[in-house]
């Protein structure tokens, strides 16, 4: 039988039952490989459920450092009898299945083109432990031990991870080491040692860090000076607020008094969450909320208020599969349009599009500067794939000389000196007016904030010219935003290319791999990663300089393409959509297939040339 042989380039998938404690064991497995200097990218694939339903953890081991999902599985660690048949189907021919052989399997439930590795895990656990919970938890560690032998993972790295994790908890440390060795020794003695998939020590991890996007974004909010957070629990954004609380407890407690330099409210719903954030922003604090698609729908009325009344607020949208409740635990990029144009009437909003946790950190901190500078809601558009998966990425950086940009705020001294204050007066021609914080001056600078139409001095006015004047200024402000949001990044092909590709966010990892594969096949593509909205002119120029441009994104309706046509005024005839929206992260294989097909159709020599 064929046997897959691969060093530092394979996919291991763990099929588990959720609530069984497998998550931390599986992460241990991934981290051990990282510690051997070999890049990994793990992904949680989980149901909307707490206990008892199937859950998967997929680890791609890639010496080349590819972070996207590859597709296909080389080794299935099949720990869930419920999903056995489906799990088995996913294995590539010549691949491996590792399973609990305590209960014998009938041959009909196996495939004859894969390698079966059985280990009586339950039997071993029952013989070693008496406590049912221990039997369950250590079973996970035992299989990690066995895998370390099968894949040639250095057990010292795992034991080192244990000693870091259980520092000062000697008993826990010892029991974990014992379980690990139990599994490893069994595999070495009874399972014939290493299989065709091997981890070989390398140096490809470098200085990079291993962090999930939500933790990184939350840390960005701490660094960016956010003091008020209001949120309502929703997958996949809850861990962002929880991480913010955790980071604040570490960095934001006043050492002298033990009191908090932050305030977090778990609100009654998304409406209250955004309302609290807007109230705090109005009063001069840096405030945010984090949510997912359904929350954006609920917040829409308030988002319009913040746009029209010009109040800074930061909104993290960790996108999931829509519409409606949709696929709450699956990933998509399907809120782009609903955020860009959130709320009734004519509105447009600033969007930041991070590709990974590092950019989640950077864009998060930057979002607070932008919101203050532009006095408007700023969206950080993450997604489940970035937000809830630990990713190998560049270290987080901060420049201590960086000062917060609090935007145009008129001070007591300026008011006292008699400077003219019109809350909606465009003094500088950039569409951005001055604001005052409540309580600044006894007799000057107070104004009434409202969602209704007003004149330049914030006085209620329903007259047409006042309204149009204000709406035009808001457009000028949006033009100013173009100069402030992150610019797109160009990834030029190595050879002159007729094709272009535009992509953003979590598609980035798979895209970069796809570009390399395509180049190897002779399809050269210049790629542009969009990082913010409103779109800069570079994007339209990029489209104009290619006969065909692929727009690669993770939604059904080609939302970025729509936004490009609408806002960057690009020629829609040049745009070809590559759309992936089944809830799983897009893969390089998918992108390569789609682009190769399109390219083949467009590389046919024109009929005229053939005839002449």
């Amino acid at each position: 039988m064929k046997r897959i042989d691969a060093i530092n380039d394979f996919v291991v998938k763990f099929a588990n039952v959720n609530g069984s404690g497998s998550a931390s064991a599986n992460e241990l497995f991934a981290r051990a490989i990282l510690r051997m200097g070999v890049p990994v990218s793990p992904r949680n694939i989980f149901p909307s459920n707490i206990q008892g339903l199937p859950t998967w953890y997929e680890v791609r081991v890639s010496e080349s450092g590819y972070q996207g999902r590859r597709g296909g599985v080389d080794l299935m660690v099949a720990m869930n009898p419920q999903t056995w048949d489906a799990d088995l189907k996913e294995i590539e021919a010549g691949g491996y299945v590792f399973h609990d052989s305590t209960k014998a399997l009938t041959k009909s439930r196996l495939r004859d083109d894969i390698n079966v590795i059985g280990m009586p895990l339950t039997e071993i656990c029952n013989a070693t432990y008496t406590d049912p919970r221990q039997r369950q938890l250590f079973k996970n560690i035992i299989y990690v031990g066995a895998l370390s032998a099968l894949l040639d993972i250095d057990p010292n790295e795992i034991e080192r991870l244990f000693s870091e994790q259980y520092k000062g908890k000697e008993a826990l440390l010892q029991s974990n080491v014992k379980a690990l060795r139990l599994g490893r020794d069994y595999a070495l003695q009874k399972l014939g040692g290493p299989i065709g998939l091997r981890v070989k020590r390398s140096n490809k991890v470098g200085h990079r860090i291993f962090i999930d996007g939500n933790s990184a974004a939350a840390l960005g909010a701490v660094y960016g000076g956010a003091t008020v957070c209001a949120w309502y629990p929703i997958t996949p954004s809850s861990s962002l607020a929880e991480a913010f609380i955790r980071h604040c407890q570490k960095y934001r407690v006043d050492p002298a008094t033990g009191k908090n330099r932050f305030a977090v409210v778990q609100a009654e719903d998304e409406l209250a969450s955004i309302g609290i954030a807007i109230g705090a922003g109005w009063n001069g604090a840096r405030a945010f909320t984090c949510t997912s698609g359904p929350g954006i729908s609920l917040m829409s009325e308030f988002i319009g208020l913040a746009y029209f009344a010009e109040i800074p607020v930061v909104i993290f949208d960790v996108q999931r599969g829509g519409p409606s409740t949709g696929m709450p635990t699956r990933t998509q990029q399907s809120d782009l349009l609903s955020c860009a144009y959130a709320s009734h009437g004519d509105t447009k909003h600033v969007l930041l599009l991070p590709e990974d946790p590092t950019e989640c950190f950077e864009f998060s901190a930057q979002a607070f500067d932008l919101a203050d500078r532009l006095q408007t809601p700023v969206f950080v558009m993450s997604d489940l794939d970035i937000g809830m998966n630990t990713r190998l990425c560049d270290p987080l950086q901060w420049d201590d000389t960086r000062a917060y940009d609090r935007g145009k705020v008129m001070t007591h001294a300026e008011l006292e000196a008699g400077r003219d204050f019109g809350r909606y007066l465009d003094v500088d021609g950039d569409g951005i007016p001055y604001r005052t914080y409540p309580g600044t001056h006894p007799t000057r600078g107070a104004y009434f904030t409202r969602g209704t139409t007003k004149d330049r001095y914030a006085r209620y006015s329903e007259t047409g010219p006042d309204y149009v004047d204000n709406m035009q200024r808001l457009l000028r402000k949006f033009e100013t935003a173009k100069t402030l949001v992150p610019k797109p990044l160009l990834y030029p092909a190595e050879r002159p290319a007729r094709f272009g590709a535009i992509f953003y966010g979590s598609t980035s990892a798979a895209m970069q791999e796809a570009l390399e594969v395509l180049a190897e096949r002779g399809i050269h593509v210049n790629a542009l990663r969009v990082r913010g909205f409103p779109f800069q002119d570079e994007i339209a120029d990029f489209v104009a300089s290619h006969p065909w441009v692929f727009v690669v994104e993770q939604n059904r309706d080609a939302q970025l393409k729509t936004l490009l046509v609408n806002e960057a005024k690009v020629n829609s005839a040049r745009l070809l959509s590559v759309l992936h929206y089944d809830g799983t992260p897009i893969t390089a294989r998918f992108i390569v297939d789609q682009i190769a097909q399109h390219a083949a159709a467009r590389m046919v020599v024109p009929l005229k040339k053939v005839v002449s």
């Binding site: 962090i211 209001a230 960095y251 305030a263 109230g279 705090a280 201590d400 904030t449």
Partner: protein
Amino acid sequence: MTYIAKPKLHHPELARNKVGHTRRDYEGTVSTLCAGCGHDSISAAIVQACWELDIEPHRVAKLSGIGCSSKTPTYFLGNSHGFNSVHGRMPSVLTGANLANRDLLYIGVSGDGDSASIGLGQFAHCMRRGVNMVYIVENNGVYGLTKGQFSATADRGSKSKRGVINNDEPVDLSGLALQLGATFVARSFSGDKRQLVPLIKAAVEHQGAAFIDVVSPCVAFNNHTGSTKSYDYVREHNDAVNRLDFITGRDEITADYEPGEVVEITQHDGVALRLRKLAPDYDPTNRIKAMNYLQERAAAGEIVTGLLYVRPDARDLHAYLNTIDTTLTRLGERELCPGAVALEKVNAALR
């Protein structure tokens, strides 16, 4: 055009308070509500209370939702920042504002549509959290701006101006506030300034969620026979449990009372409330009894007014969240940003 500036001229000998302001300094623009609207009397009571308490107008933030009542912040405290937010959502906006800057005085003005219908949830959770604010509902039982539909506080059996009978049970906001943990609950009548002004003053002084339900007749749509929120009906059925005459420490005691007629409640910040009892057995520090009394009198068709409940040891959201005494808006990079060295440690722990 609904923005009308008031002439600044006033009598040169108009009385000034301790911070040097006349009562006129606490006014806003000319009201655009209907002549005789109860809401204007409430605005006047807020002006009076703030003037008497020597509050600096610019240290007040006044927030509202949407509706006739929510328009009124334009008509008082013209030197305060105001925020006319979204229908039913004043409580959340005010909560955020309060978290950002705990040094200002927060007055939230809302109506029965705003707080009992669309914003019932935000009203409830704001009370639960103990946001330090004065929450005034100008309660007239109808939607005025949309011309006379019943609101959720309209009594069952009351008749609209068009002759429609209301079949729905009313939402009793005072009763809900009591149940939800508001630490100061009062009900009053816009036509009784002597009762209302001291209640607003006490609510301002209260360090916690202070709620005042003010029955405020709508002269345009709900002041007819058959309405239970008309001037006549409220006057006939008003059952005042007490009259708050003084806030000791600020005003001198000038009247004499018979023993047993007066009850004094000292709050934990030292501010004492002196109440003249009207209902002999009414104890405004007993929440359960207050709830019972309200229900009993409501069943008898009466509207209980006065200071219904006060919790002397009230705390607020900032206390629960353990926020720093300095307002959060005053903190800068030094206090907020952990810096590059700390970040390098974070990176190191993630390898």
